[in-house]
Each structure stands twice: as C-alpha cells, then as structure tokens.
C-alpha cells in the first residue's frame, strides 16, 4: 500500500496531524502499537467514558475523547496493534501485526511516537513489585486497576502527584511518598514569572501535593533507596541523617520524568541535540517539525518533552509542514498564523521551563552493585570496569558486557551507559554518544520476515 503520509503513533500529536492532513485531502496511514487511539496520555479513552475511573482521571484526560472521536472520522487509515520495525529511505515502512509483516510506502513520514519514562536504576529496581508510576497509571486507564497493600511512590515531577491524587480519589491508599526532588534552585525560581502564564497548572500542582500530605507520610532528603525482598518486594530502605530507615512495602512506583523516544530517529541518522538540563537527546527539527532528513518529520514529545497539549499543536504544525513539503498546500504560513498555532503552543509550554528547572534528572553516583541493564543484568560496576579499559564509546562497553543487547535494545540502559562512560572518562555527558541504533527497531522473527515476501507478491 502507498500513502502520502505515514504517521507513527496515535497519541495527541499523531491524531491531530492526521486530522489536519485529511482536511487537505492527503492519504494518511496511522500506525500504532496500542489496540486503540490515544497514546499513553489518553490510553483507553474510548472505552473509559462509562468506567468508574473516568471522573477520577480528571478533566485533561477527558479532553482526549473529542480528539479520538475526530480522529476516527478523519478518514485516515488506522493500523492499531502494529509495530514498526524498519523505516527505509523513500519511504518504506516495515510493520508487523498479529505475527504477519507488511511493507507500506509513503512520500512523507511523521514520527509522533512520544516519550518513555526516564529509566533511573537503583538497588532492587528489577524486583517484582517495583514499577514506574506511568505504568501504574496505564493500568488504571486500561483495566481500571489499583495497587493493593502498602503502596509507596518514589520520585519527582508532576506525574507522581497527579497519579497519587487519582488513586486517592478512587479510594486507594498510599503508605508514603519518597520525594526525590531537590529544593528549588535559583534557575527554577527565575522561571516562575513565565510559569504564571499557566496559573491553573501551578495551582493544580499545589492542590495535588496538599492531598498527598493529608493521606500519608512524605519523606524528603534521603539517599540510597533500596528495594529488597526474596522473589518480590518486601521492604524499602534508605539512608537519612546518618541512619538507615526501613519500611514494609508491597508496591513501589518510581518516576523521574520522561524522555523522548529516539530509537527511530537515531537509526535514521537524524541530527539530534542534547538537552543538558533534562539530560536527554531529541531529534533536531525546524519550525515545521521537519528533521535533518527531508520529508521526515517529528512532532509531540518525540521532538522534546512538552506535554499533551503542546503535542496536539505541534502535530498540527507538522501537518502543515508536510502539506507544504509535498506541494499539497501553498498557504501553510497563512494557515499557521490564522490558527494562532505559535501563540497557542507558547501558552501550552508556559509551565515547561519552570518544571524542567524544578525537576532535573537525578545525578547521584550509581552504586557498583546496581543493575544498569535490566535485560542482560549488567551492573554499574561491570560497566565502569569495561569503561576504564575502553575509549569513551558505548559500543566498546556493549561488546565487553552485552549491555544494551537484550530485547529492549538499550531503551532502559542507554543513558545510564552514557553517564557512566562520562563519569569514568571525566567528560561532560553530552560528549559521549548514545548506542548505535540499528534495525530492526523492535524484535522481529524470521517467520515474520518470511511472511513479508508472500504479502509483497500478493499485491
């Protein structure tokens, strides 16, 4: 099959780009790993309206309903439960669904594949019972699941506060909140005036925090958090004021912000920039969302973390950019102005500089015994040892330790390896590169590749 535009991701950016491009009459296909549209932020949005969790998920979540409905009637072809494992020049996309592969062609590609939670290793983070806050929130949105027993949250940023509030509103309980944020630095306070433009957002954060304080204990100023137990999480320990503290725990939810998904743009050789404050890579894009590769666009959190509202607007801007690039519209500048896209995006991003400065990624020294690569179970100590005997290059560490060679393909350990190499070689992290990302972008079986030839012959 051949289309004008292939969009990867049916979250806020992908859906709004698809809707806009269909208004121009472009043929659009939207490919998404999930069974229904919405992305992680609006996960389960079509099904949840009648669910008892719907009111607790809040007004922002409910706004996803209209977007998903507009996407459904947009006329874009929609391929749910489908993974993209290879993108080639021209463009050809290789997909797998239900164990069968297929190839589709497109004149332009929009990557709207969003973000993932920043992996932050600590002792015991592979124990059953430990997972991310985002994961728990997805369980709530998709199946209406609440954690049971002694539930602890450790982390920083808006998401733990939002999730804890949703949980409490549904009658859930939190044993305690381990706040990993550091006291606001000058850089954060300097950005407060700009953040007032999103007064509602600021107020929301304060209200969330008050609710948590009422329901459980808040621990601040601790270090060396450890999750311990035999076969599953049983207790947490941490160091505070020269003393080791210990509590019972059944579930620990962790969160240290989100980072863009970069495997696709790295594999395609796009230029990236290093966001030093938030410690992540993102594809460089121009004012239309076009990457350094012609007719390859990136929108939403995948091009830098901005949240769902900014993502819908950047999706719309990328749609205009693609329409211009493909010669579908010659009025893109005028349309951009008329829809006030730049002003709306600026407002949607008003709180972001403040949040970015408030919640920098943790930069504590990782103990040697902590597993950095979950798949191949490589410890920070083993990576340091390999790093000392090699140039400051993740490929050397990978070859020596198997770190990054498991099924997640470095999605969980990439930044950790980069940081450990920088530490050992005394370099700024920005001067150490990420793993070389090569296809396939997701594990694919020989059977799936074989099914491709049959599908190609049939068309």
């Amino acid at each position: 099959m051949s289309y004008d535009v292939a969009i990867v991701g049916a979250g806020p950016a992908g859906m709004s780009a698809a809707i806009r491009l269909r208004e121009f009459g472009a043929s659009v296909v939207v490919i998404d790993e999930q069974p229904s549209p919405g992305g992680q932020i609006f996960r389960g949005i079509e099904r949840n309206a009648s669910s008892p969790v719907f009111p607790a998920l809040g007004k922002d979540y409910q706004k996803g309903q209209a977007l998903a409905a507009a996407f459904r009637v947009s006329g874009a072809e929609y391929l749910p439960s489908t993974q993209v494992w290879q993108i080639e020049d021209g463009w050809n996309l290789y997909l797998t669904a239900e164990g069968k592969a297929q190839r589709i062609a497109a004149r332009a590609v929009l990557l709207a594949n969003g973000a993932q939670e920043r992996p932050v290793p600590f002792a015991g983070w592979t124990l059953p019972g430990v997972m991310t806050v985002g994961a728990a929130q997805i369980l709530l949105k998709s199946g209406g699941m609440l954690p049971e027993g002694k539930v602890w949250i450790a982390g920083a940023g808006p998401l733990p506060l939002l999730y804890a509030t949703q949980l409490l509103n549904l009658g859930g309980r939190i044993a305690g909140f381990l706040d990993t944020s550091t006291p606001p630095r000058l850089s954060a306070l300097r950005r407060l005036p700009g953040a007032w433009r999103d007064f509602g957002g600021l107020l929301k954060g304060l209200r969330w925090l008050r609710g948590i304080k009422r329901s459980g204990i808040i621990v601040r100023g601790f270090s060396d958090l450890r999750a311990e137990g035999n076969e599953h999480l049983e207790h947490l320990t941490w160091e505070m004021e020269g003393k080791r503290h210990r509590v019972e725990a059944d579930v620990l939810l962790v969160h240290e912000g989100v980072v863009p998904r970069i495997h696709e743009t790295l594999a395609l050789g796009c230029a990236h920039h290093w966001n030093d404050e938030q410690g992540y890579l993102a594809a460089k894009v121009d004012r239309w969302g076009e990457s350094s590769r012609k007719s390859l666009f990136v929108a939403g959190d995948a091009s830098g973390i901005g949240g769902w509202l900014a993502a819908t607007i950047s999706g719309e801007i990328a749609a205009l950019g693609i329409a211009g690039r493909l010669g579908i519209s010659s009025e893109t500048d005028r349309l951009r102005k008329r829809a006030h896209l730049d002003r709306r995006r600026k407002r949607a991003l008003a709180l972001r500089p403040f949040l970015d400065a408030m919640y920098p990624p943790p930069r504590n020294r990782l103990p040697d015994d902590v597993i950095a690569c979950r798949c191949e179970e490589v410890t920070a100590g083993a990576i340091r040892a390999a790093a000392r005997n090699s140039p400051a290059d993740p490929s050397a560490v990978k070859a020596a330790t198997r770190c990054g060679m498991g099924p997640c393909q470095g999605r969980q350990c990439g930044y950790t390896v980069q940081a450990l190499l920088a530490e050992v070689h005394g370099l700024p992290v920005s001067e150490v590169r990420f793993f070389h990302i090569r296809p396939p972008l997701k594990p694919v079986t020989l059977g799936e590749i074989a099914s491709l030839e049959k599908a190609d012959r049939a068309t």
Binding site: E33, Q34, P35, Q40, G44, R47, N48, S51, P52, V53, S81, Q83, G99, Q116, E117, T126, P128, G129, V130, M131, T132, G134, A135, I138, L139, L140, S142, G143, G144, M145, L146, P147, E148, G149, L170, G171, E231, H232, D250, V251, R374, C375, E376, E377, G406, P407, C408, R411, Q412, P443
Partner: protein, 99 residues
Amino acid sequence: MFKSVREQLGKRSDMIVLVNGVETPAWDGETVASVLLRVPGAGRRSPVSGTPRLPYCQMGVCFECLAIVDGIASTQGCLVPVRPGMRIESQRGPREISR
C-alpha cells in the same frame, strides 16, 4: 498486587482467561501484562539469572512483560488486550524455537 476498581465495587469479571492452565477472572480493557501483575507467580523468569520479573513500563519499552500468549512465546503482554479464553503462560527463560 493490583485489583480492579470494579471488583472492589462488587462487579463480576467480564471474562475468564487461563493463566498457566488456571481459570482466572479478567476485565475488559486490561492487558496480558495487567493479568501477570494480578496473579501471584505468573511473571517471567529472566533468561540470564532466572530471577523473577514482572511488567515494569506498560508501554512497550522494557520487555519485562514477555509471556507465552495463545502458544506464541515472547509476546509483549502490555500490548495485548485480554480476550475470553486466552491462554497465558509464564515464560521461563528464553524463547524456544518450538513456540
């Protein structure tokens, strides 16, 4: 470790799935990964050390939710919604060629 809100409200489950051969209630919208978190001991074992693992990210990134679903091993459980009668088996170690 996790429980359905609707179960807490006294509602009946939407379907039955088989987890390692045992009939298990399941809920519309939940994924295989969600079931793994509700049934004690249903998670996978790491192919490296054999230690137990459970789903970590729920968004297709970490591959900790790998399970044998309707006979197909190394299925990412977080991407697959449950279906009535679905057979979910724990994946112990690496994928075998036979499945």
